[in-house]
Subunit: 299 residues, 2 copies
């Protein structure tokens, strides 16, 4: 057991959490969400996605979001940029960090981004190069690290291979996504062990989904391994696109409650964060998927 | 780390899960629930509560439930018996195991069973004696082991003291209840360490609530300590009476999914169990609080 003393939370609610919402959410609401999250003490917020509005209409206002948000000192506001075009647009908006999104499953890569894993890595190369020129950090996502909706089981060696490629290409951090939430603690530990043979532990992040209720147990298990960066979404925004009505992203409030209990520092004010979760779920008419949020609001 | 090879699940849905339901549930539905749970491979089912119908109207049919249920070989059907009167009634119904319910919090004991902890232990003595005469096993519950709705923090030493008293009195097993679900893994570990100084680990059970989403992380932590008996409720039936609308009992399906992933044997068929959760929640018009249940039903 070697729990980290501090954990950095990467809040993905404004991007990952909102991107699949079918009803348009106003830019003002997105900006308020981002601002409230910063006010609660979160220091890393994924704010937008520079993808084609044809594919993700909810993120069509990415330029306005990125240029209008109130930048708090010490807070990183990042954006997803799947290709060079997206990156150029993001750079025009003064973004300081971007992210690319790969997969550890061939079938998922084909269905989700319409190319093989190898092709996706080739596409990322010019993005990484251009970002480096512009002095912008790049975060790499790997999805399906504990299972795939099409392939089922995923070999930890495959996750390690894709992660290593992203890291060697210049990603400063690799976020390991249990996209369908089927992972359990033993599997999560084994995957982290495999990936951390090639990449230092402090360059890895856990991005776990709570679809099968396992996210916090999995996080506990990988915190024991030394993971110190955790992705989460306020109020568990996002759901699971592969099981309608089921949970997706683990809720930030529930993660912070866990970390507080483990005496791990986050710098986050749980009450403010929970208030933000209550507010945004009411604003967009969604159930609050944070158990902590619901418990604090009803007790 | 010393995970147990096997875990015994104690299913509390038919009693703890249903007792606070305001609308009457038919005896036939209760009997079918108990039978389906047995058919899914669960080997220990808390079936009824021999309390006054004045206090718990939903359990008024305890005699009929206990005498009408189909006894499957190898399955224990137990009942809660808060006092000698309840025990006598349960014995008349041929019960083979009963349970008594204490608390680690003075304030909770006073508000919940209207006496001090010391008085409650005195009341249990004749129950334990009579049960011993009748060759009936007694399980002891201790509530508020990780926090109290009135007192807040509870000293692990207090939990150990009450648990030891129940064990010395003759309870064959002590179930440690995080009644309000505020516990986190570190706290859960410390509590188990304190209690297991006086009672062998294999005589202890974890009864955790998921009100703050921590139940599986807490279970994972105490499984690491060697706990091998877990209480849970199918579909998370029960809610939390101290935070309306919030979760209570951890869902059996989610626990079995965790245990399956840890390669710990339970003898339970997860699909059958999840089907039972879907059926009972539809039958009584409640949301399914098992994430595994919802994910399996919607994927």
């Amino acid at each position: 057991m070697a729990f980290p003393k501090q954990v950095r939370l990467v809040e993905v609610g404004p991007r990952d959490g909102l991107q699949n919402e079918p009803e348009p959410i106003s830019t003002a609401t997105k900006l308020e969400l981002i601002d409230r999250l910063g006010a609660s003490g979160i220091r890393h917020i994924e704010a937008a996605s520079f993808v084609s509005p044809k594919w993700v209409p909810q993120m069509a206002d990415h330029r306005e979001v990125m240029t209008s948000l109130t930048r708090r000192p010490g807070v990183v506001y990042s954006a997803l940029t799947p290709n060079l075009k997206g990156l150029e647009a993001a750079l025009e908006c003064g973004v300081e960090e971007v992210a690319v999104f790969g997969a550890a499953s061939e079938a998922f890569s084909q269905k989700n981004i319409n190319c093989s894993i190898a092709e996706s890595l080739q596409r990322f190369e010019p993005v990484l190069e251009r970002a480096k020129q512009a002095n912008v950090r790049v975060r790499g996502y790997v999805s399906c690290v504990l299972g795939c909706p099409y392939e089922g089981e995923i070999d930890p060696a495959k996750v390690a291979e894709v992660s290593k490629a992203l890291y060697q290409m210049g990603c400063y951090e690799v976020s390991l996504g249990d996209t369908i939430g089927t992972g359990t603690p033993l599997k999560a530990k084994r995957m982290i062990e495999a990936v951390s043979r090639d990449i230092p532990m402090d360059k890895l992040a856990a991005h776990f989904h709570d679809t099968y209720g396992q996210a916090l147990a999995n996080l506990y298990a990988v915190l024991e391994e030394g993971i110190s960066v955790v992705d989460s979404s306020v109020a568990g925004l996002g759901g699971c696109p592969y099981a309608k009505g089921a949970s997706g992203n683990v809720a930030s409030e529930d993660v912070v409650y866990l970390l507080d209990g483990l005496e791990i520092e986050t710098g986050i004010d749980l009450d403010k964060l929970a208030g933000t979760g209550t507010w945004i779920t009411q604003a967009i008419g969604r159930p609050n998927r944070s158990k902590v949020g619901v418990a604090l609001a009803t007790k």
